[in-house]
Every structure is written in C-alpha cells, then in structure tokens.
C-alpha cells in the first residue's frame, strides 16, 4: 500500500490501473502504419475549426471524452485532469479545461509531458489523493509550425534531421484499483528525469539534443529498480526519431561493455509514420506523438498481450525560439513510466 520510493527519481506503484485510453489524430497520422489503432482520424488538419489553436484544443477534448466514453464514465467522476501541450501558456490544455471544469494540473515538459502526466497521476493516486485522473497530451502540426518555425505556406527546405510535429492527442484514464485482475493494464513505476544539456544548439536536430536525456533517464530507471533492459519487451522513447534511437543505442554501448539496447529500443515518432513514404524526415514529434502512439497502439498491444511490459520514455526539448536565437544550447528532459499487463 502506498508509493514505494526507490530513489529521488523513481517510484513504484501497486494500485494504479489504466482503465481506458483513446487517441485522435490528424489526416497525415491517419495515413501512417498505426492508422487502425486510432479511435478517430480527422479528414483535414483543421477539421472545420477556425484556427489551428482551436483545432488542437478540440483534438485533446475529443481524446479525453473518448477515453471516458469507452468505460462509461463521465466528467463528474474525474478528480484531476493532468497534462500539457507545446503552445505558449498551455492554451490547448488550459482552454480545454475551461469547458470540462475539473481540477486541472497543467504541466509543461515540451514533448515529454505525456509520460510526466502518467507518472504524476500515478504518484497522486497511489499516494491516496485523487481516485481518478485523466492524463493527456496533444500537439497540432500547424500551431507548432507557427510558434516554432515559419508560416505554413512559406516555402523552405527541411533538413534531414528535422522532426514532423504530429497532429495528435492521446488520453488515459487512470484509477485506483484495490486489486489487480487478469488483463488489467497498470502503471507500475515512474522515473522522473533531470534536465540534460550536452551542448546541442541546432533547433532542426532535436534527436541529437534529446538522446542524452533519454539515455540518462532509462539508465537511472534501470539502476534504481535493479533491472536490465531485457526486463521490458520494448522501450519506447517519445520522439527521438530515426537518428535519436541510434544515438541512445550508441551511448549505451559506450557506457558499458555488453550493453546492447538496440533490440529493445523503439520510438513513437519513428512508428507513427512511414518514414520512407510520408516525407517526415527524422520522424514524428510533439507531445501528441507519444500520447497517441501509447494511447492508440501500445495500450492495445498490452491489452492483447502482444507486450507484457513496456517502458515509455517521452522526450522533450525545453527550448524556446527566444533561447536559441540568443545562442543558448537546448536543455532536454525525459520521463519514464513502466506499464505492465497483469496476467
């Protein structure tokens, strides 16, 4: 009973179930290899909303509502809503909360916010606080482009290392379970990352900036819990993409002789799109990337026993246009949650 503290970073839980999960995505994501796992696919980026910011908010609301509908719950039973997005002042998460009127814990960890939300939600539930927490995250390609890059219709060439901010949202309904039954999917552990900055300055190459943070958190998690990477069927990083997964693997090999992570490492951003055909360069990114890939694909893989245990490591680059224009390097963070299926 109660939270087990394994270190300042890592905590384990016995009673936090993920009762349902839902993912809503945009048209490009809906043409990707995971299309069949998403609950709803929009036919256009804006889906008849007046702006990309309003669309992003709607995307989140749809995912949250679907997660509740799936198990016949309604908003009144949700104690906390936890989550975040990429937009300044969290205007997707916060404005969505204006409608649902539930207590809100809005958080910013860039694209790492989904795992952070699951971790914090689990910690609160196991600690005897809220009984039911709705954790979610979202991003929209167009609103992220306007905030971080250029106007949509401006022509420019992306570099091969650039990520594609996904139009996607994912939400999970966490609740306290007295006892785990066969088939229950549960959050078993969380490791909160520290900020890691190894001097990357290129805003068009988040992989290189974030990979050391992902490696740091995975290693911390495994050390704290005395586990080997093979304990997990798969370790899914958030949005490191094609290059980032290779870099984490290389860091692991450098760290210790015999560390071979390549078979276990995978990445949500790399999985969300067909890298060869969909012209996304390094792969998907954005808070909605790990949120939708987990809530759509991975949660179902756990339910259907394709996977028994996974580690979700959402990765975030904590920079702003102001910080990189002033010549600062890019600080990054990764948060990990271990999710298991009970037999």
């Amino acid at each position: 009973m109660g939270v087990h503290r394994r270190s300042a970073a890592s905590y384990t839980f016995d009673h936090v179930g993920i009762r349902s999960a839902a993912a809503v995505v945009g048209p490009k994501e809906g043409h990707g290899p995971l299309a069949s796992y998403f609950d709803r696919i929009w036919t256009s980026e804006l889906n008849n909303h007046v702006s990309s910011e309003v669309a992003e908010r709607a995307l989140l609301t749809e995912a949250q509502s679907l997660a509740l509908d799936k198990v016949g719950e309604n908003w009144a039973h949700v104690d906390w809503v936890v989550g975040g997005d990429l937009l300044d002042q969290l205007i997707a998460t916060d404005f969505a909360a204006r409608e649902h009127q539930r207590p809100l814990i809005g958080m910013f960890a860039a694209c790492a916010v989904f795992a952070e939300s699951l971790g914090l939600g689990a910690l609160a539930i196991e600690g005897g606080g809220p009984k039911m927490v709705l954790a979610g995250a979202c991003s929209h390609h167009l609103s992220a482009e306007r905030q971080f890059r250029y106007p949509i219709e401006l022509g420019y060439q992306r570099t091969p290392t650039a990520g594609w901010t996904s139009t996607a949202a994912g939400a999970c309904l966490l609740s306290y379970l007295d006892a785990m039954n066969s088939g229950d999917v549960a959050i078993e552990a969380a490791t909160f990352g520290r900020v890691v900055d190894w001097g990357s300055k290129n805003p068009n190459d988040m992989s290189t900036a974030m990979a050391p943070a992902a490696f740091d958190t995975i290693k911390q998690h495994l050390d704290d819990l005395g586990r080997d990477i093979t304990y997990y069927d798969q370790v899914y990083t958030g949005d490191l993409g094609v290059l980032g997964v290779k870099l984490v693997d290389a860091l692991a090999q450098k760290e210790k002789e015999g560390f071979n992570w390549s078979e276990r490492l995978n990445d949500c951003g790399r999985s969300l799109y067909d890298i060869d055909k969909q012209d996304v360069h390094n792969g998907g990114s954005g808070p909605g990337c790990s949120a939708s890939v987990f809530s759509g694909f991975l949660y179902r893989q756990l339910q259907t026993q394709q996977f028994q245990r996974i580690l979700l490591v959402s990765t975030g680059a904590l920079f702003s246009p102001t910080s990189y224009q002033q010549g600062e390097s890019i600080p990054c963070i990764a948060h990990a949650v271990a999710i298991v299926r009970h037999n």
């Binding site: 022509g155 420019y156 091969p160 190459d205 010549g327 600062e328």
Partner: protein, 156 residues
C-alpha cells in the same frame, strides 16, 4: 551572445557531439543544387517569356521590366494562396526562394498566416516577419553602395 549563457562542455559531451556529427544523415547537396538550378531556371524562363510578351506589344526591354515583375509577383502570390509554392521551394530550395516569386511567397505566407490575429496586430505587425531582414539589410546595402557611387562618380 554574452558569455553568461555559454556552458563549458565536458570531454564526454564534446565526444558525443563528434559522434552525432558522424551519424547524422547528410543533406543531399549535389541533388539540391541540381534541382535548385532547374527550378530557378524554369521560373526565370517563365519570367523571360512574360517580358517577351510585353515586348511583343510594343514595349522596350527596359519598359517591360516593371510589368514583368508585377506579373511574377502575382504568380508567386497566387501559387502561395493555392498552397503550391511551398512545394516548389521544398524541391527547389534557393531556386524557388531567390526569384521574385519567392519574395512574393515570403510576403503572402505571413499575410495568410496571421489573419486570425487580426488586421493590425496580426497581418499588419507580422507581414514582414520573413521578408523583414532582407528588406532591412537590402536597404542598408543600397545606402552604402549609393554613397560609394556618389563619392566616386559624383552622380547621386
């Protein structure tokens, strides 16, 4: 920028950056240069065609320059509005950005983009977000060159 923000990188971090540099996929420079040549070349050929059209209708080559520019800016704006010009630049790079159609794209794209924020603080304030640096330094350079010309030739 100031030293305050600069961080000392350890050997491990420097080694990592070296490794990442080696693993990073390279930009296809040769392919990009060739496509830029052809995309830019095609746009210039179209511009040449427009100029000939005006010359056929009785203008001198010099007189035809201004209406040709106007037509090409119009074409760039139209293609931007249709959502096609960004694809031209995606393939053609500088071949698409450098001609005046690219300048038109750099003006029309923000105008479309910031419309939801209103005519004053949206379109009005942000119209030059992309083209602004080009105009600023283009004008500054023009002043310097003009001054040099005046000092040498005496012609204002």
């Amino acid at each position: 920028m100031g030293k305050e923000g600069a961080r000392q990188l350890t050997q491990e971090m420097q080694d990592y950056q070296t490794m990442a540099n080696q693993m990073r996929p390279k930009k296809p420079l040769l392919k990009n240069a060739v496509t830029a040549f052809f995309v830019g070349g095609i746009i210039c050929e179209v511009g040449q065609g427009v100029q000939w059209f005006f010359m056929q209708h009785g203008m001198t080559a010099k007189e035809a320059t201004s209406p040709t520019t106007v037509v090409m800016i119009g074409v760039g704006a139209l293609l931007t509005g249709l959502g096609w010009y960004d694809r031209v630049v995606k393939r053609g790079g500088m071949g698409g950005s450098l001609p005046i159609t690219g300048f038109s794209n750099a003006m029309v794209a923000p105008a479309m983009e910031y419309r939801p924020e209103g005519l004053i603080l949206g379109v009005g304030a942000k119209l030059f977000t992309v083209a602004g640096p080009v105009l600023t330094y283009g004008l500054a350079a023009a002043f310097v060159v003009g001054l040099v010309r005046y000092l040498i030739t005496g012609v204002a």
